[in-house]
């Protein structure tokens, strides 16, 4: 029981890393997901075979719960994205996230400052609109417009890059 407690504790740290990498855009939900994955692993512990690698088992469950959670979330928000196993989000390559980040930064550089800076400060660094306005010397409404138009332009560029 003590060993199991220690195991789950270590596992929760591992899961946090695993899930954080896969839901970079929803950092607030990672802890929820960690708990859901822990619960699933606990409930399904009889399906583990000691001859099989533990990480493969843990990751398969975490991934399943993640897909399930994303699907429910998509339904809730009426987005109806088809979340399939094949989606790149679930690529096991650890480098994908960093590559995506680098690509976004590259595309951001192509935007004019009045759009790029609001996105960087508000969306990437998490400042409030007022703080971003202070930092850039732009007005609050200009920041909001910049974020809005900038994101649209960025989305268009991403579609174009595909």
């Amino acid at each position: 029981m003590v060993a199991y407690h220690a195991f789950l504790k270590e596992l929760s740290a591992h899961l946090r890393g695993f899930l954080r990498k896969r839901v970079t855009n929803l950092p607030d939900d990672v802890e929820d997901l960690v708990q859901e994955a822990l619960l699933a692993i606990h409930n399904q512990r009889h399906t583990y075979d000691s001859a099989q690698p533990l990480t493969a088992w843990v990751h398969a469950i975490a991934k399943y719960k993640l897909v399930d959670w994303l699907r429910r979330r998509a339904n809730r928000e009426h987005l109806n994205h088809p979340w399939d196993d094949e989606m790149d989000v679930f690529s096991s390559a650890e480098t994908d996230a960093t590559e995506a980040k680098r690509d976004v930064h590259k595309l951001l550089l192509q935007l004019p400052d009045r759009q790029r800076l609001p996105i960087v400060y508000v969306k990437l660094e998490g400042m409030s609109v007022a703080e971003a306005a202070d930092r850039t010397g732009m007005s609050v409404s200009a920041i909001k417009v910049g974020v809005h138009r900038g994101l649209k332009a960025l989305a268009a560029k991403i579609r174009g890059a595909d």
Binding site: M1, S12, Q35, L38, T47, W57, V58, A60, I61, D68
Partner: protein
């Protein structure tokens, strides 16, 4: 709830599990399912009238072996797919081997004869009902295997559902061997395989809905 508290809650109480729980669950399910299938066969179809004589014909045992290997491999497939993250390893080859062997045997038989005999070897007398009866006999096994899977943790639901259907179809076909009088390899390689594929397709279609957890 904080994750640390959550972990403490999960780890409290008795957390031990019975060893080999998945395999035992499958054994129970297959036992009950196969029994249901045999009863269904006895009530609706009856065993072949010459079953006692057939036991002395090698081809009868070739047929039994063919279906039994398929059943064994597909049950393993279903078991593996109900365990998160376990690879399939030798299972796909074990599924393909008996089918390829039966087709080779069928090809050898078909090459040596004229077209009229080919027709007889391929269609026998019962080709129209064979796949449907196999599918019918697979129903109790299908329900049982899906039940077994639901108590475990399949993560690829469509493939897992298909594997459950495949296992059910193969066990259904094994039971059907006790009724079916056909012995020609071309017949078995075609209609038995088709019969097994019906529950497989049903399982693949229903899997995502039936197996979610």
């Amino acid at each position: 709830m904080k994750t640390d508290h959550f972990v403490a809650m999960l780890a409290s109480g008795n957390v031990a599990v019975a060893p080999h729980a998945p395999a035992r669950r499958y054994a129970t399910a297959l036992g009950i399912g196969a029994l249901g299938s045999v009863i269904l066969m006895l009530v609706l179809l009856g065993p072949r009238f010459d079953l006692a004589d057939a036991l002395w014909i090698p081809m009868f045992w070739v047929k039994i072996t063919f279906v039994a290997v398929l059943a064994f491999a597909s049950v393993h497939l279903a078991l593996r797919l109900a365990r998160p993250g376990s690879g399939l390893r030798w299972v796909p080859s074990a599924l393909a081997a008996p089918i390829i062997a039966m087709w080779l045997l069928a090809a050898l038989l078909l090459i040596g004869v004229d077209s009229e005999q080919r027709y007889v070897l391929l269609f026998g007398n019962t080709s129209k009902s064979c796949p449907w009866l196999i599918a019918l006999l697979s129903v109790p096994v299908f329900v049982a295997v899906i039940w077994a899977m639901k108590g475990l943790a399949p993560t690829r639901l469509r493939i897992a559902g298909g594997a459950a259907g495949l296992a059910a179809g193969a066990v259904g076909a094994l039971v059907y061997c006790l009724h079916c009088p056909e012995m020609a390899a071309p017949f078995i390689g075609t209609w038995y395989v088709l019969g097994i594929l019906i529950p497989t397709a049903v399982g693949a279609v229903l899997g995502p809905r039936l197996l979610r957890w």
